[in-house]
């Protein structure tokens, strides 16, 4: 089907929303609360549009497309409303891109930029709320929260950890952990899904913050998580070839095994790649001491010892233990090696632990 958005005829398919269709056609509509993973919420009011034949403003994130629909995304009423949303969110003066960790990766910033807002139209007094630094992986800044509800939806119904919820009401409403505990004292398991969906700087990862590296300074490389067999797709953010932070890869998230969600290991546990404690060469024990050796040296030693053990004590005196961190092919190869070369079924895997 076709609809017309701002005078452009745009293709759409049944089941899409106006926002989907506009985005697919490269038409920018800000949407602070809608996220493909958490769905429509109707909270931010940024994505409102006008539609011929429909009364008033409509949330484009919740409006199903219809053939022949004529949508206007930039009427004076729409622009006034967007401007008001921005003004109201900035009025307390807590958003400051200059020092924000989310700078360059912030949907509010994008919206403000698109609207060409230089500064908030007005300011009102507001008491600052302290940052929540209780959690090892996640920093919370309640003042920057725009109440989009993505983190709550993600925590309650996405990863189903059921830690984050909205509490209180009106302008006192805020996101809490359990019954208003600091995140580090709560039942939070540090999956970081809330950070993944947060559109602003209210929930950020501590790893890049502590390294003082913001998102635009990093290069994202898509990798498969090395920890377990799920195969989570990760954007590994690096700078100067060193690990900075990890986010779930979101492109075509519905087709990924992890649906763009990560666990604590994939989210925070990849910093080992730059650890000075990592082995860079094989180590061989000589006179009770582990010393560096070449691969040839090490492999010869292993082959020799395996052979000796098999001859002296039989094949079943040998066992193999492989890892979830290596690929299926590598695991298969070791299986064949154990069974066909050595001749034992003694092979196991760390994922069973």
């Amino acid at each position: 089907m076709h609809l017309t958005i701002d005078g452009r005829v745009v293709d759409a398919v049944a089941g899409q929303t106006v926002l989907d269709a506009a985005r697919a056609a490269g038409i920018y509509i800000p949407a602070l609360c809608y996220h493909p993973k958490t769905g429509k919420a109707g909270r931010c009011r940024a994505c409102v549009v006008e539609v011929d034949g429909l009364r008033g403003l409509k949330e484009s994130c919740a409006l199903p497309v219809k053939d022949g629909m004529v949508v206007h995304t930039a009427t004076p009423k729409v622009m006034e409303t967007r401007r008001m949303v921005v003004d109201l969110l900035l009025a307390e003066g807590h958003h400051n891109c200059i020092s924000c960790q989310a700078n360059s990766s912030c949907e509010l910033q994008d919206m403000v930029y698109h609207l060409g807002v230089e500064r908030p139209s007005f300011l009102i007094e507001s008491e600052p709320t302290p940052q929540d630094l209780s959690s090892p992986g996640i920093m919370r800044e309640a003042d920057k929260c725009i109440h989009c509800g993505r983190c709550v939806e993600a925590c309650q119904n996405g990863v189903v950890n059921e830690v984050l919820a909205f509490a209180y009401r009106g302008s006192h409403a805020r996101v809490v952990c359990d019954d208003d505990l600091p995140m580090g004292d709560s039942t939070c398991v540090q999956c970081g899904e809330c950070v993944q969906v947060c559109p602003v700087g209210a929930l950020v990862l501590r790893q890049p913050r502590e390294q003082k590296i913001r998102p635009h300074e990093t290069t994202a490389t898509r990798i498969t998580c090395p920890y377990c067999g799920v195969g989570c797709q990760i954007d590994l953010h690096t700078r100067d070839n060193r690990y900075v932070f990890a986010m779930a890869h979101e492109n075509q998230w519905e087709r990924q095994p992890n649906k763009a969600m990560l666990c604590i290991k994939g989210r925070f546990g990849l910093d080992f790649v730059d650890s000075p404690d990592r082995l860079r060469t094989p180590l061989v024990r000589r006179d009770g001491e582990l010393v560096e050796a070449s691969w040839d040296e090490a492999l010869d030693l292993v082959a020799e010892r395996l052979k000796a053990a098999k001859e002296q004590h039989g094949a079943d005196s040998i066992g193999f233990f492989t890892s979830a961190k290596v690929s299926n092919e590598e695991n298969y190869a070791l299986g064949r090696f154990a069974r066909a070369v050595i001749g034992t079924n003694n092979i196991d895997h760390c994922a069973r632990l």
Partner: protein, 579 residues
Amino acid sequence: MREELITTIESIAARYPDRRSALLPALHLVQRHNGGFVGSEDLAAVAELIGVPVSEAYGVQTYYSMFQRKPLGRYHLQVDTNIPAMLAGAQTIVAHLEKVLGIKVGETTPDGLFTLSTVECLASCGTCPVIQVNDRYFESMTPERTDALLASLRRGVMPDLPAPAHFGSTCNVLLARRGTPNAADIEVYLADGGYKALEKALGMTPEAVAAEVKASNVRGRGGAGFPAGVKWGFLARGTGKPTYLVCNADEGEPGTFKDRQIMEFDPHLLVEGMAISAYAIGANLAFIYIRGEFAWIADILERAIEQARAHGFLGTSIRGSGFALDIIVHLGAGAYVCGEETALIESLEGKRGNPRLKPPFPAVVGLYGSPTIVNNVETLASVPYIIEHGAAAFMRMGTANNFGPKIFGISGHVRRPGTYEYPLGTPLETLIEAAGGVVGELKAVIVGGLSVPILTAREAAGLALDYDSCLKRGTMLGSGGIMVMNETTSIPEVALRAIRFYAHESCGQCTPCRQGSHTVEKLLERIVSGLGTPADIDLVLQLCGRIKGSTLCPTGEAFAMPIEAMVTKFRAEFEALVS
């Protein structure tokens, strides 16, 4: 948690199609048994029992203003300071209590006896000032009566301080038995011809009953004025899910105190109206969602339902018809927004009272995802008359397109504030006269509850009190809560008090309502305190103009419209404060 509490909560949970609905009742119960608060440990126990995460239970607990996290004094004195109370001098009572108790609002006396709070409209607009003590109302309070109340409480006795209310009726439909002794008793109701309409309805087909209601053109009395029969017609059929009827008894619109007249003094009229309506729409389970502050009225309703069941007007086969209906009375817990029907449904499901995105509308996807009709108390209480006497008789009252009787609540600067039943279309002057006339000179009037634009005395002259005439005058009939203001009233102060109410009650979901109400409150505070500038006045107007039509639910309009009207129509008063 004590074993008997667990058993009681389990039995409550078993009554609902989804046990999560028992969350609010459970919190009420535990709070009552726990000396007035529910702390972390008990909250966790309740959450586990109901089967919700602690985070969500906490979110629900802190959403509703009646739930406390910390212990309060033995007597929690809550003074309503909303507009009708303000016009009746509630601040005098607050000041008196502060002086006598030696504490400020929000504090507890050192002996732990009293905690003093101010609260939003308690729906006692005709009998203000009102002090709610724990779950009891003490109305028409003066400093002397307040002293008597405190003296009695100090002796550990909840006193009996009757406060006669003014009322009158020219229609004798909704307030017909308002002055009859024991009218809440089924015997009195039956002796007056009660439940005849239900008997008649059961002899008709449900479609015929619905058609009669539709033909009467009865418009929703909650405030929107949408024809009830048309609403019933939107019900999704053949969904394979049950249909529910919900009575909206969350009377919280400031200036409105009409539904409680029916529920407290003629509960069987509502029960009968609900039974007929449920029959018409095919609902076998109905709910009365009543504001939490009306706990004693909920008890009256429970008793009426019990009596109706005993007389076969409710139950598995009403009067042998095969039609089954049960009614559950469900207490809210202090949240204005729950008067909005989708917020009410969320609350009834045991959640925060956040309005839902529409569509879908409740008639298609409502309570527990099932087709649901939500009607106001007064609307449902009009149904027995329509069925018994016919739509034509109903339409003999009122004006074209605005038929039937209506309870108007008049408060503020009149001699006999109270509830008066008149046909729709009755001139405002007639109502004011019935209420004993204006004390002083009429300056302004709000005719439909706080959420509608204010009218100046000149604009209000000759206004016919019906939905269409009010719209023509640039306001709305709303709930029919009329607040009369004389020349002593400061409109900027009314505006500030009004926005404080909305900022307090905003659910906090959408940006324009949450931040908008808060921002307008800050701006009006600045203006009223003399620290504002003329630019602040323009900013208030600009914000109100933009908030209208931009919010998730009608609450945005509910404050943007009246504030805009107050500032526009009485601009000189605002300017005088900033010059």
